[in-house]
């Protein structure tokens, strides 16, 4: 073995004690194979001991997609996997080769790994993002909220300066109401979605052009519960001013923390 490939790039851990080669499907066409130990195996390719990094966004993107494909191939073959994040590399040390270190790691972490595998067995990850159009929602609120309607009436009959100040007040109140509504909808959606999933994680929201992300969830969903979830999301999607982005199934990246 050359010094150039004494590291092991780890894609995922699978619940199968078999040695298996996936062929040259790895990053940069490396051969992907499993290192089995007991009832588990680690899906790897041989690599130099340095992280994959590049200033070229396209290259990195290709690597990450490749990583994802390998994890999916492992998922197809073994049913349950704990995906690792991109660029997880195990190296050789004074105490042993990279392969020895992987086996040692499997032994040390066996309990934790099995617990994680139990959690994600027969489950898939989905991304759920609910957006709202602030303008549509604001329109509904200003028509239904009596205080805001009254203020709007008053503005029409006021002189220039007063009208300006009343308008500022109107906008301030509207903003407050929007905040309350956002909170109510967040709770409502959260609880509706919670009923259909095994586990939920609240992720950071991001704002996109013309629409606001109200809630961003990673959901761990049992295979037989996918349909109730998608029905529930369809209900939300049909609400006026709301839209849902539903992506997946993904390997359960957000629900395994492997050290």
């Amino acid at each position: 073995m050359s010094a150039n490939d004494c590291g092991r790039y780890v894609y995922c851990i699978a619940e199968a004690g078999e040695g298996f080669s996936f062929g040259d499907i790895g990053i940069d066409d490396n051969e992907v194979y499993t290192i089995p130990y007991d009832s588990l195996c680690v899906v790897v390719h041989n690599c130099p001991i340095e992280p994959y990094s590049s200033g070229d966004k396209d290259v990195v993107c290709r690597w990450v997609i490749n990583h994802q494909r390998v994890v999916e191939a492992a998922l197809d073959r073994f049913g349950t996997v704990l995906p690792m994040s991109f660029d997880t590399i195990i190296q050789d040390t004074d105490e042993g080769s990279a392969e020895d270190n992987i086996r040692k790691w499997l032994v040390e972490e066996a309990n934790g790994l099995k617990k994680n595998l139990d959690r994600v067995r027969d489950n898939e990850e989905y991304g759920v993002q609910v957006f709202w159009e602030p303008n549509t929602i604001a329109g509904v609120i200003s028509q239904t909220n009596p205080e805001l309607r009254k203020l709007e009436e008053e503005i029409r009959s006021k002189s220039k300066g007063l009208a300006y100040m009343y308008k500022q007040r109107l906008e301030k109140l509207l903003k407050q109401e929007m905040g309350k509504e956002a909170e109510n909808y967040f709770k409502d959606f959260y609880h509706r979605i919670e009923g259909c999933v095994s586990e939920l994680k609240v992720e950071k929201t991001k704002t996109e052009v013309d629409k606001q992300m109200l809630i961003n969830l990673s959901c761990l969903v049992a295979r037989e519960k996918t349909e109730p979830l998608s029905d529930e999301l369809e209900n939300i999607n049909e609400m006026d001013g709301f839209s849902v982005r539903f992506t997946g199934p993904w390997p359960p990246y957000s629900f395994v923390t492997v050290k």
């Binding site: 300066g161 300006y164 500022q168």
Partner: protein
Amino acid sequence: MAIEIDEGNLKQGVLGLVIALVEIIQDALRHQAVRRMEGGSLTEEEVERLGEALLELDNAIKQIKEEMGVAETVKSVRDGLDSAVDDVLDNFLNPVKWLNPAKADKLS
């Protein structure tokens, strides 16, 4: 947040930055004005004068932005500031906290 300044766009950049700051100060003024109005410490005549002054300032800023073609620069300065502030606030106002405390504990 990057404010690009080279010789060619120095004037635009500085002006954009200045206008953005004026806008932010005006936002604060407006906020204060509304609070005083709501507090009832101003007569109707005073509110009228305050409103007119703020409206004039609004129009003046709008005009300068149009004439000097710095609307985009101002927007990018303000968006940059907004997102910087958002990042900070996110730590305090994370939606997780909207859930009841028991839920938040379970999630963390």
